[in-house]
């Protein structure tokens, strides 16, 4: 569903909605089942087989393991999931993650896109720096981020330079007085400058994910802004609108299709999330950064190896993903007629 946001590869040379094969022509169009069959078998065959198999495993006893023969036990595993606080915690983390990542991505994406459309010096360098995190594998960057948020890592070093934390005689890092006073009065007295801890580990994961995905939001907004007619903005300026006013009332409303696309993209990312939490915090400490992906993985390959239970969790995750999928195809239909300001002016 190419919106006008995407650049060249998505723009067909001559737009035609109708895929052909209609009416009289129908008779002459060659049959094509065998052309789609290979892709269909690999994709639909494997994935639907796996889903069916997961469904089967999920009604076996929750602690079933592969070689063991077992009889069907029913929805025991699902009930266990609904009664498990960990399942709801993971879901809650997924939701918090989605909201935080989405909002920050939109705000920062729009700001960066607007800035780099404003004739700043060295634009390409900034663009590369913002987009490089999107390209590098999360698994490769995970150990680096672990270092960044380490007790003696760069984040704490910067806070130290800013005078927010100081090192005690024993070598511990603690907040300076006024910061801890502030934190206690904000109800965050348990936050210490040690980031991989229960009260902050989720936010470390969110920050890292935002770091690696703002570039994507930026590129999408940048492309979308490139499509806004400069004359339109000029007219607004002549009417006396300032920079901020133009951005908020003229540019942002035109970004709606992109914002919607980012919402969907982030929902999928939140449900799929695995590499960062697994490699940075392993879902911990004390499950404080547990997501559905790490939860399922732990049930599958942890000490306990509960295949039945993991399969039930997988099916629940699948239902959520399908929900997103349906929202996506519905909104895709709405998104299609993207107003192309430049073209419509005539």
């Amino acid at each position: 569903m190419a919106t006008s946001v995407t650049a060249a590869p998505n723009k067909p040379p001559i737009p035609r909605r109708d895929g052909g094969a209609s009416g009289r022509r129908h008779q002459r169009t060659p049959a094509g089942l065998r052309w789609i069959l290979p892709a269909f078998v690999v994709c639909v065959g494997l994935i639907y087989f796996c889903i069916g198999y997961s469904g089967y495993i999920s009604v076996l006893p929750w602690n079933w393991r592969p070689p063991r023969q077992e009889t069907v036990e029913g929805f025991d595993s699902y009930l266990r999931a609904f009664h498990s606080p960990l399942f709801w915690t993971s879901l809650e983390h997924t939701l918090v993650f989605f909201l935080a990542a989405f909002v920050v991505q939109c705000v920062m994406g729009i700001i960066f896109a607007a800035l780099l459309h404003s004739r700043v010096y060295g634009g390409t360098i900034f663009k590369v720096l913002i987009f490089v995190p999107v390209v590098i594998a999360p698994a490769i960057m995970a150990p680096v981020h672990r270092r960044v948020f380490a007790v003696d890592g760069p984040i704490n070093w910067i806070l130290q330079q800013l005078g927010l934390i100081h090192v005690t005689d024993l070598g511990n890092r603690v907040w300076t007085e006024w910061v801890s006073w502030l934190l206690i009065h904000l109800g965050m007295g348990n936050v210490t400058p040690n980031w991989i801890q229960p009260s902050t580990s989720l936010w470390v994961i969110i920050a890292v994910q935002i770091w690696s995905s703002i570039g994507m939001a930026f590129i999408l907004f940048y492309a979308a802004m490139g499509q806004i007619d400069p004359d339109l903005l000029e007219a607004a300026r002549i009417d006396g609108a300032g920079n901020i006013r133009v951005l908020v009332s003229m540019v942002v409303p035109n970004m709606k299709p992109t914002i919607l696309a980012l919402a969907i993209l982030n929902a999928i990312t939140a449900l799929k999330l695995f590499d960062f939490p697994y490699l940075i915090t392993a879902g911990g400490p004390a499950h404080s950064s547990e997501f559905l992906g790490t939860y399922i993985y732990a049930e599958l390959f942890g000490v306990s190896r509960h295949y039945g239970y993991a399969a039930a969790l997988s099916i629940l995750l699948l239902v959520l993903a399908l929900g997103v999928s349906i929202v996506m195809s519905v909104t895709a239909r709405e998104r299609r007629p993207v107003p192309d300001i430049k073209g419509r002016r005539g």
């Binding site: 094509g32 994935i47 404003s118 720096l129 270092r147 696309a261 695995f274």
Partner: protein, 263 residues
């Protein structure tokens, strides 16, 4: 977007951008700076001398090339079929395929492990490539089909009148015209297969010679008892091919990834 009438305004905006970009640079700086701590460049030597260092790259290259080739062939044939050929109830097939569009790979984990171990493919490249291909195809087919829909039917009819069979139409009309899509598909699939971590970890194995690039930095956690400098040197070496590829093909990467983001 923002008005910059004077040189000073322009400098101010540049400064603002630079300040906002600092958080992006911190991890990159940490990575390079940390990898040169302790024994300096010798950290890199230690990583390169690691047993089977090149195998990480070889495995990743084989998996990526295999995935790209398969996805490309299957996507092109399927898009041709969906868009230009007669298939009864083709939309049913299409939506069945699109049902797999947002599949989180962790959902497939349990069945894939059992499937791979029972079919004896566990530890082979196929065990990783086939699921990767299956997860990419809905996406690339969706993109490519809407692109092929935009190619006028008249071109295919003209070829048919000139006596070209379906195969010739595919080879001589569709493939050359869909070339812009090929770049997007290659970039998209390259990133997704090169960056994949979970599937190779579980299906290719964690033993020496069976690991991919994304496992390189983390493999030092056990081997050198959490030697931070070598972990970071490993991360730099693992990330380098991607960074170079991105800078060399900047526009293609940005377009390909953006095409993937907006489906």
């Amino acid at each position: 977007m923002f008005e910059t009438r004077s040189r000073r305004a322009r400098l101010g905006l540049t400064l603002l951008t630079a300040v906002l970009v600092i958080p992006f640079v911190i991890p990159l700086f940490t990575m390079v700076h940390g990898s040169l701590q302790g024994s300096g460049w010798a950290n890199y030597l230690a990583v390169i001398r690691l047993n089977g260092f090149w195998l990480y790259f070889r495995n990743s290259i084989i998996i990526s090339v295999g995935t790209i080739a398969l996805v490309y062939i299957l996507t092109m044939t399927a898009s041709f079929g969906f868009s230009k050929l007669r298939i009864r109830s083709k939309e049913v097939y299409f939506w069945l395929m699109m049902g797999a569009l947002t599949m989180p790979e962790v959902v497939l984990l349990a069945p894939l492990v059992i499937l791979a171990s029972q079919s004896g493919t566990a530890g082979t490249y196929w065990a990783v490539i086939i699921p990767l291909v299956a997860l990419q195809i809905p996406f690339t087919v969706l993109l490519t089909r809407s692109y092929v829909d935009g190619i006028p039917d008249a071109l295919f009819e003209a070829a048919r009148i000139d006596g070209a069979g379906t195969w010739r139409q595919f080879w001589n009309v569709l493939l050359p015209l869909a070339k812009p899509m090929a770049v997007a598909i290659i970039v998209l699939v390259l990133i997704n297969s090169w960056n994949s971590y979970l599937l190779p970890l579980v299906l290719l194995g964690q033993s020496e010679g069976h690991m991919v690039v994304t496992q390189l930095p983390n493999s030092f956690k056990t081997q050198y008892t959490d030697d931070q400098t070598k972990i970071l040197a490993g991360a730099v070496l693992a990330a380098l091919p991607e960074i170079i590829a991105y800078i060399a093909l900047q526009r293609h990467f940005e377009r390909g990834m953006a095409a993937g983001a907006i489906k």
